[in-house]
Symmetry: C2
Subunit: 340 residues, 2 copies
């Protein structure tokens, strides 16, 4: 790994360009870093001081993920900053479901041929989202691998490390029958289902520049809306121990993700009539002839995070979580049942 | 991120295959994990307990990197386990130069179409190298991205997190004129220079199945020899504070990497006649018509790690580091000078 400031120069970018990028990227990265990041002139690794973490019995939570083929859409329309937000926010949510707050993030960008516009735009997006999440962009790598990637395509991988006090780890053990499921709205497809969505859009011959019925934004903007982070609104409720479990709705939908936090014998009923999915989902289902069951397996259907709370806490949590609504309940039957 | 055991099933691998892989991969991954890894049934993140780290004032050191186009060579000959060792050992060395020992590792595998043989082989190699390094394989992700990767190609990204006591961080501040540079032998090209090496091999029409002059192993084996980890032999010397600085010789060679640990005004003289590079380097130079200066910029030339020690410590360190030799000295002139 090289420092963020040096990575473009080392990856063989034209030096005059790299020199100007160095400043911009260096400033952006620097803006994510607090006093816990130690200066590391020349080193390969990024240094993060954990001697004074406020968490009692701190446990690190780490996760690695990619953005998937949403990248191909970003390439198609030449807009790259949003995928930087995507990868960070996706990772932030993935460790948030364990109750963790982010400490630091590292990114990897793989290209066939390094593009001096794309890479800095993506890293700028990453740095912006890291700053919002209070997460240090500790390092990253940009690799040029001729022949491995298709012309113009690239991959983007992020790794996040966060921390949670051992007694505050969320792992489903507080989930019992009779609790309430709240749904938090997604900003769109987030980072799942893009292979299917892109195929439907292409086969239907939809223009990425045109709006769709019920949504005035151009289709490209709808599809590229960055993955939403739920850290800001959920963190206060986590600190007050009001949350029994969280499920980040990614690939696999409710069934694949809510089931992860259900103890043996506990199930959930989700009433899909309790919220209205954004228009893009109905359009994709109609044009692609995709069943509701399949839609719910591939897409988040407008709910990006499920929050399981005690019934007695539901009203207070609804009030604290803008746009949230009751979408179901836990039961003693087991399994994940979605009523369409 | 999904758990290592579930990632293949979730990535859409044939379920019967995935079910059998689950066991094997699950066992391998489990074998890397000590009591600091907390069980995390269902969660997206891997949990690592840092409440009882023995290091005083612990500082985390993190690094992300890829294997580069060595992957294309692995694909060409259908041998995948070694690149798992490569990515782990490369990352281990990258944080070792800060004085850190590994805590945990996460991997990312990106494919055009998931290959049910390749992925488990790579992850098995990763798990093996993690076990040797005392590093928990905490998580990983396997992504299928049709159209992004060329047919049959894939990318492999690793992220390591380690720890060092704040007062033991190696960052070059102990480097002064008159110290001794020791070179530790590399196992071959490690993970750098493969685009050039592959081009030379292809243009010269060399067979990957044949030995080369001075090395009886088939060329494929020479080129795919896994990146060597220097953790085991350097750790005791680090604990005894006998090392002033370390430089992992990757892309950029001595000039690009030793310079990172030189304080202003301190330079090094390296005498390339003090060791004999493995025969593969002379072959590549001759066939490719590559100058010695360029060879030293692209390849490690047989020295994978440079250890800077006090002159008075040199004899003891040489004895403790098998295969090591004195390759140069620090001076008061500044810069990195390699005498061929």
């Amino acid at each position: 790994m090289t420092s963020a400031a040096d990575r473009y120069a080392r990856a063989g970018v034209n030096l005059a360009v790299a020199d100007s990028l160095k400043v911009k990227i260096g400033e952006l990265v620097e803006s994510t870093r607090g006093p816990q990041v130690l200066s590391n002139r020349g080193g390969f690794g990024g240094l993060f001081d954990v001697a004074a973490l406020p968490e009692k019995n701190p446990v690190l939570v780490a996760s690695t993920d990619g953005v998937g083929t949403k990248l191909k859409l970003a390439v198609a329309v030449g807009r790259y900053r949003g995928v930087g937000h995507d990868i960070v926010n996706h990772c932030v949510n993935d460790i948030l479901v364990c109750g963790a707050r982010p400490l630091f993030f590292l990114d990897y960008l793989g290209f066939g041929r390094l593009d001096p516009v794309v890479a800095p735009e993506v890293v700028a997006g990453i740095a912006e989202a890291c700053r919002v999440a209070g997460c240090a962009l500790l390092g990253g790598e940009t690799a040029e691998m001729p022949g491995v990637y298709s012309e113009g395509d690239f991959d983007l991988v992020g790794t996040i490390v966060g921390v949670v006090a051992r007694e505050s780890i969320l792992d489903g053990r507080r989930v019992r029958p009779g609790q309430t499921l709240l749904g938090l709205p997604s900003s769109g497809l987030h980072t799942n289902g893009y292979s299917l969505a892109r195929r439907i859009v292409a086969e239907a011959g939809l223009s990425l520049d045109e709006p769709i019925a019920g949504d005035a934004r151009p289709l490209a903007e709808i599809l590229l809306a960055p993955h939403r982070s739920y850290l800001g609104e959920l963190r206060p409720l986590l600190q007050e121990h009001r949350v029994c479990a969280l499920a980040h709705i990614t690939g696999g939908g409710f069934e694949g993700n809510v089931s992860r936090v259900l103890p043996s014998g506990v199930g959930v009923d989700i009433d899909a009539a309790s919220w209205t999915p954004p228009p893009i989902f109905a359009l994709l289902a109609r044009l692609g002839g995709v069943s509701q069951a399949e839609m719910h397996r591939v897409f988040n259907m407008g709910v990006g995070m499920v929050v399981i709370v005690e019934e007695s806490e539901a009203a207070r949590c609804l009030a604290a979580l803008p746009g949230s609504r009751v979408i179901g309940h836990t039961n003693a039957d087991g399994g994940v049942r979605v009523r369409f």
